[in-house]
């Protein structure tokens, strides 16, 4: 193979890898220079990957890189469809993380709503929470806490790494306040304010300075 052909092969490989869906041959041809021999390149690439963990496969007139079929059994988990956790479940998980050990009743009290049956189950199944003991109150309810799997999933070294409420606020996640704050804090509002003064032509005239304001050579007294 010439250097040029090697370069075309690399490009083809990268295009197939990065594509979100199988690519039709004619589109592959568009992505390569005119002098590239697409059928030969595809055949070469298919050969290169034939014995590997992923294969170059043809479906109809389209091409893609796919996991080798024989690995499917070792790689496939029994029930694997990735899914998003419901908002209620995320919030419950957060409350357990921040308030542990915490009982189910306390979670409902903190959230102010009842909890559906499945919420704790999902978290438990995931291995993110575990029973921590029992509260010494009537009915001796189970208390819940998070696991090492939880820490691991979220990239935390310890529970102490969870940012406090003040840090959340500072990070902009806990952005609340009276309406007036959101009014003057928002860039849009600020633009409005400026626009108004612009309508007056020169903007507001220079205010009078009652005291001796800022003098460049003010000396400390």
């Amino acid at each position: 193979m010439s250097d040029l052909e090697v370069q075309y092969l690399r490009l083809l490989e990268a295009v197939l890898f990065a594509s979100a869906e199988p690519i039709a041959e004619k589109h592959l041809a568009d992505r390569l220079p005119d002098d590239a021999d697409l059928p030969a390149l595809l055949a070469k690439l298919q050969g290169d990957y034939a014995e590997r963990g992923v294969n170059v496969v043809k479906a109809g007139k389209s091409w893609a890189i796919r996991t080798a079929p024989d690995l499917a059994s070792t790689l496939t988990a029994p029930k694997v469809v990735s899914r998003r956790l419901s908002r209620a479940a995320v919030e419950t998980l957060a409350i357990i993380a921040y308030h542990q050990p915490v009982t189910r009743g306390e979670m409902e009290e903190i959230r102010g709503v009842g909890m559906s049956k499945g919420t704790l189950d999902v978290l438990l199944e995931e291995g993110w929470i575990r029973p921590r003991g029992r509260r010494q109150t009537p009915g001796r309810p189970t208390t819940w806490g998070t696991t090492d799997v939880f820490l691991d999933h979220f990239g935390l070294e310890s529970l102490g790494d969870l940012p406090g409420v003040e840090d959340l606020k500072a990070a902009g996640l806990l952005d609340s306040g009276p309406a007036i704050d959101s009014y003057r804090g928002s860039p849009v509002a600020a633009v409005d304010a400026v626009d108004e003064t612009e309508e007056t032509g020169d903007g507001p005239p220079e205010p009078l300075d009652p005291g001796d304001g800022l003098e460049p050579d003010v000396s400390p007294g």
């Binding site: 869906e21 998980l93 959230r111 009014y183 003057r184 300075d209 003098e215």
Partner: protein
């Protein structure tokens, strides 16, 4: 003022009225240290060898210019100006050697260090952003295999989701009860105090706008100052210390001391369009 936005601010510098061409444009800066750094670069020498006295003069000139041009400066810009004025005096006057205070040289060195450090971080940020980046110059697998679990879990929840979830919960918790928080508005009391001090100094008719304090930062604060100053002026009219004049509905409002020598009519060259729309 640099307005907090998540992403690049593409708006025009709205402070600049078309009639005037300002030398200073405060919108482009990320705070006083950033202004200082820009000025230091203009000295066209290594930041490690800038003249702090010269820099202080340039900054004070910048602030004066900004005020002359009616740009609203945040408090921290003014605090920096005062500090630099003080630093300059410490550098120029002989050190009395009290021992307790940092010397002018120590303060200057701290400033130089901070400028260098910020410059280093600004440069590093630019270099970082200039690198080849995932999704722009190089790419990830375009079609991940859903049958292969990369991690031990199948749930797509990020740390951001978790923290956001808790923050959302907290926020809803806080809105459960209505607390009316003290708002930072310009009070009528403040306006009255200010107006009483100013009125003697203005023999002529002056626009109400001219009596507003500086550095309000626009928006609600300026509106409330306007309203409060107007209310305060009514109070002083009631006391017989002030005269008010408005020649047309929604027209500009003029103030004059009651015992002053001002003519009955405001000057015609006064800014006719000083709108008091609010």
């Amino acid at each position: 003022m640099a307005i907090a936005t998540d992403f690049e601010d593409t708006r025009e510098a709205t402070n600049t009225a078309p009639a005037l061409s300002f030398v200073v444009d405060i919108d482009g800066y990320e705070g006083p240290i950033d202004v200082l750094l820009t000025l230091a670069r203009e000295q066209k020498v290594d930041v490690t060898r800038i003249s702090i006295v010269q820099l202080a003069d340039q900054y004070l000139g910048f602030v004066t210019e900004a005020r002359r041009a009616n740009l609203e400066l945040a408090a921290d810009y003014l605090v920096m100006a005062a500090w630099l004025a003080y630093l300059k005096s410490r550098l120029l006057l002989p050190d009395l050697g009290s021992g307790e205070e940092p010397t002018g040289e120590e303060m200057a060195a701290a400033l130089a260090f901070q400028l260098q450090r910020l410059e280093a971080m600004q440069d590093s940020g630019r270099r970082l952003m200039a690198r080849t980046r995932l999704g722009r110059e190089f790419f990830a697998c375009g079609q991940p295999d859903p049958l292969i679990r990369a991690t031990a879990t199948e749930l797509e929840v990020t740390l951001y989701d978790l923290l956001k979830g808790y923050a959302d919960h907290k926020r809803r918790g806080t809105t459960g009860t209505l607390h009316i928080e003290p708002s930072t508005l310009y009070t009528v009391e403040d306006a009255l105090l200010r107006l009483r001090q100013l009125v003697g100094k203005t023999p002529d008719w002056e626009s109400l706008w001219r009596f507003l304090p500086e550095g309000l930062g626009g928006g609600m604060m300026t509106r409330s100052a306007l309203a409060s100053t107007f209310a305060a002026s009514l109070e002083m009219v009631r006391e017989g210390k002030l005269r008010l004049r408005q020649s047309a509905p929604f027209g500009p409002i003029y103030l004059s001391a009651a015992g002053g020598e001002a003519a009955d009519e405001p000057r015609t060259e006064a800014r006719a369009k000083d709108g008091d729309e609010t």
